[in-house]
């Protein structure tokens, strides 16, 4: 049986007459004594006869010069630099990067404060609430300056302290969303000079 498998794998080349004389003779001898392999050979021949029809009818046609033109056109498209790349100056990329950094910094700042506000409101216990109310009153007093100039000063101070004083950040986190947005809008309108 194992021997048959070995011989059957040679059958396609046997039909195509591509076996060496020595191998062919051995296979011939085996076929005489093995009806299983003989049947396999007949099956194979009829399958190859069907496949032969496909070979005859599927003669492929390509217009040769057109093929090369197509290849060249595809290569041209892939290797041609895009118009955007040609007209994109380096300073534009640097400018865009700077704007992105500023926007990202601002959004992180805002996100940080918003999340702190939500977190602390949720965790507030009743004992802490009294202390926080007091702090809020003090802060409200602070946030009710008499002149615009002092208001601006206050906002600058708050902004500086935000980066330098963690406690103040905690206080700011007690702002309501609308209070914070008011503060945020005012801060946007003044020229911050934080060092």
């Amino acid at each position: 049986m194992r021997e048959c498998k070995k011989y059957q794998e040679l059958l396609p080349d046997y039909v195509a007459e591509e076996l060496s004389l020595d191998t062919r003779e051995k296979l011939d001898q085996h076929l005489v004594t093995c009806p299983g392999c003989q049947a396999e050979l007949q099956e194979l021949k009829s399958t190859l006869a069907i496949l032969e029809q496909d070979k005859k009818y599927s003669e492929l046609k390509i217009a040769e010069p057109d093929f090369l033109v197509g290849v060249r056109s595809k290569i041209e498209k892939r290797t041609r630099p895009s118009r955007i790349a040609v007209f994109r100056p380096k300073w534009m990329a640097a400018g865009l990067a700077m704007v992105l950094v500023i926007l990202l910094g601002w959004s992180l700042f805002k996100e940080d404060i918003t999340s702190l506000t939500n977190k602390d409101t949720a965790n507030l216990s009743s004992g802490e609430a009294a202390e926080e109310n007091l702090a809020e009153t003090e802060l409200n007093q602070l946030l009710t300056p008499e002149t615009d100039e002092s208001l601006d000063q206050l906002y600058i101070q708050l902004a500086k302290d935000y980066y330098q004083n963690e406690d103040l950040v905690t206080v700011l986190s007690d702002f309501s969303q609308s209070d914070f947005e008011t503060l945020e809008n005012k801060m946007k309108n003044i020229n911050l000079n934080i060092k």
Partner: protein, 189 residues
Amino acid sequence: MSNSIEKKMVPDSDLELIEKFQKGEQQAFNQLVLKYQKKIYDLVYRMIRNNEDALDLAQEVFVKAYSNLKDFKREAAFYTWLYRIALNLSFNHARQKKVRSFVSLVELGDTLPAKNNPADDLQQNQITMAIDKAVLTLPKKQRSVFVLRYYDQMPYKQMSEVLGKTEGSLKASYFQALKKLQKQLKAYR
């Protein structure tokens, strides 16, 4: 003088053309395309069994060759390298398009020459369709072995270089492929 004329009559070998291309001679690449376009087109068509896509894909083979030819190492013959690209692209195409079956009669109609007898046409279409379907259901390795051996009549030694398999395993794969086709095409015998 006569020597130089004789020399010009002999076409450049693949390696000579590649060297010229690597030195910037675009015409050398065109010659490689013209030399192999039919073989690559046939190979791709036999693998994916779709005439229209085969044209596009065969062109893609040369586009890919163009972009990688600068780094071509002479360890393998050019045609071996090109065949590998063609087989890989055919497999990717089959995966993308899921060309496992159902080749439409419209598509087949484009590939077949016109005949006088409509009954013959119909029968032939059915056989071709059945063969297409049977070939497409062969596993990747068996399909490439079958296509290279049966249609391209490539010797096992060369197939071994293209597919990276031993000659013994290729013979076994070819026989297994034929057995599977035999099963699928039983109704047409």
